[in-house]
Point group: C2
């Protein structure tokens, strides 16, 4: 029977044990398996970070090489998946396409019916490689461009940019994408990860879980926020408006500014620190500091006036814009990274499972109301 009434949104409620991610929202600390995100952002790679998330410890050189080999050899898509991508209507958005495609990937995964730990890890390799490929391939298809075959000599970040653009990416672009993938890889029980765990806890399968997670990530209160940031920057730019005056007007009209505030952090989002620096550096290198400068002005104003801090989404917008990436790929790229954390959580959930099934506080018509014959109803 229900024992605890809590506020809406399960705020502050601990839903399960997890050994993957530790966040101290008051102190602004984010860590994966105990290692601070700042140390990982400065030193690690997406592949190494993913190994850490899945295995709990950093790999030695041999283990990392083996892990990279597994990931690169998973860069395969069944031809029927490509045919399906070609059949989607031009109006289909990349997140709808990714959600649908990941669901369909289970058709072609030999381990679909196997929820053992080892099978889940094999499926996680596949999904990590395939999600990046699908995002890149669909973007090329919708632009009428040729599909770029994967290059197994490239890192995950570099291969993604290669398959997306069809040109070998610059070192700066690879470094930026790789760091962004590290920063977005994992964030405890955010809505998409929690959705993945609720689904996994019925012992469905990892494809069901990740499909559900993609649905949650699509929402503007979750992964969709960086697209909102970029639309704001573009609007200000188009109007030739002063960013601060424009945002002041929005706040006066009680409009929400995307990319600020966070359910968990009471300080600056530690990921924003790195994305701000990347955004600034990229802008300088590209001789296009506009998006960074506009973002920085807005951040300083909102921070001072509303005491709200920029979150992970705020500077990923200007970063991706400067890399020349389409706005509606920002959230799919979040997924290219977050599959790493989602998979870690699905594996952890299934390794020691219990159905996740809370209760509702009933606020409807009193019981028993009665069934009234249709002709006696008002």
């Amino acid at each position: 029977m229900p024992t605890a009434v809590v506020g809406k949104g399960l705020e502050g409620i601990i839903a399960a044990n997890s050994g993957i991610c530790w966040i101290d929202g008051e102190a602004g600390v984010l860590s994966y398996r105990g290692i601070d995100i700042h140390e990982l952002a400065d030193n690690s790679s997406f592949e190494e970070t993913t190994y850490l998330l899945w295995n709990g410890v950093l790999p030695n050189r041999l283990e990392l090489r083996e892990f990279q080999a597994q990931l690169t050899s998973a860069r395969v898509l069944d031809q029927r998946m490509i045919d399906m991508l070609r059949s989607f209507p031009a109006s289909a958005t990349p997140m709808e396409v990714l959600r649908t495609s990941v669901s369909a990937l289970s058709f072609y995964d030999a381990d679909e019916k196997d929820n053992s730990h080892d099978a889940n890890v094999r499926k996680a390799y596949n999904l990590t490689a395939q999600i990046a490929m699908i995002v890149a391939i669909y973007d090329r298809l919708r632009k009428g461009k040729e599909i770029v075959p994967p290059d197994r000599s490239l890192s995950h970040a570099a291969n993604f940019l290669w398959m997306l653009n069809g040109v070998k990416p610059s070192e700066t672009a690879v470094k930026t994408m790789d760091m962004s993938l590290i920063l977005h890889a994992e964030h405890e029980f955010n809505a998409s990860t929690f959705a993945a765990r609720v689904i996994a806890a019925t012992l469905a399968d990892i494809h069901s879980s990740i499909t559900g997670a993609l649905g949650a990530l699509k929402g503007p209160l979750h992964g969709g926020a960086n697209e909102g940031v970029m639309h704001l920057l573009l609007t200000i730019d188009k109007l030739g408006a002063d960013p601060i005056e424009y945002v002041k007007g929005m706040l006066a009209a009680k409009q929400k500014i995307s990319g600020f505030g966070h359910r968990v952090y009471r300080t600056e989002d530690p990921r924003a620190t790195h994305l701000r620096r990347m955004s600034e550096q990229l802008g300088k290198d590209a001789g296009q500091p506009k998006w960074y400068e506009m973002s920085r002005a807005i951040e300083l104003y909102v921070n001072k006036d509303k005491k709200l801090n920029a979150n992970v989404d705020f500077y990923s917008a200007s970063t991706y814009a400067t890399l020349g990436i389409d706005i509606d790929l920002y959230t799919p790229i979040f997924a290219v990274s977050r599959i790493s954390g989602w998979a870690a959580h699905v594996i952890e959930q299934m390794d020691d499972n219990r159905l996740i099934r809370p209760r509702a506080e009933y606020v409807g018509p009193a019981y028993p109301s009665h069934y009234i014959p249709i002709d006696e109803r008002p």
Copy 2:
């Protein structure tokens, strides 16, 4: 910051307010909008029950006629959806197909980007009609049969059986299916509904929510349980074993018997009462009482020996088997019904939304562990 540590699975935790369903697990009461499930099962139809779930009150005659008209006019599938269904490999299971297809339906829904109450209701009509059609159409396609066009003169239950079998269903079959759809329509914050709400709460969209719900329903700890029951009955039948002796052996080997026990009910699941009666009646009518009798023997034994009660899944197995429905359609048929409750919950969540974002109790490596250069790792 986290304020409450709770057991695994959010058991007994109230996650949100809801006015849709009231359950008293101790007393064995299930009610939709305050009306007892027994009164609805005996008097209502799936259409009327769905109106009740979405609108909070029973419809008058005019409102019901209008509602039925909306539902029947939504019996349309874009030709590209049919082409996609044809393209799926023969090995694709109906639940994988349904999950993938519902995700793809958003491509063709004019309201995809509109999360207003009215647009959500329009999309709910579409999804309710389309899910039943997809289950029926895919089953015919995989058997190499012609697609049966929808018949708008038929009720939801009758049209589903018509599109599935290509013959006009008997009155008993329609009544059985209709009652089964009423019984499965809604059940508060079960795992699939909760997954749908977690996804809806990011303000993604109803297609994302229902896709996630389908993923959760697929799990053997949720909708997949009635398939487990039927596989057990078939195994016993094939071996010519005594059902009680067989189940006794399973229990001695600490194996779980599908279809018994429930997170919420401490009594008989009130839905089982009706399904037991339907299973018995159908068996008699069809001169095929085998599945019912076997089920009843198992139920009496498990109830006496383990003090476990049959749940909704236990007698839906023998009921569907006697209707001649393939085992791997049992869970999809659960979805044909539950879309009704899922939609009610997504609409309720979006009408008064707050992001659902709990916390984890961290049990991983102590923070701060440090990033160790690769050549210094063990």
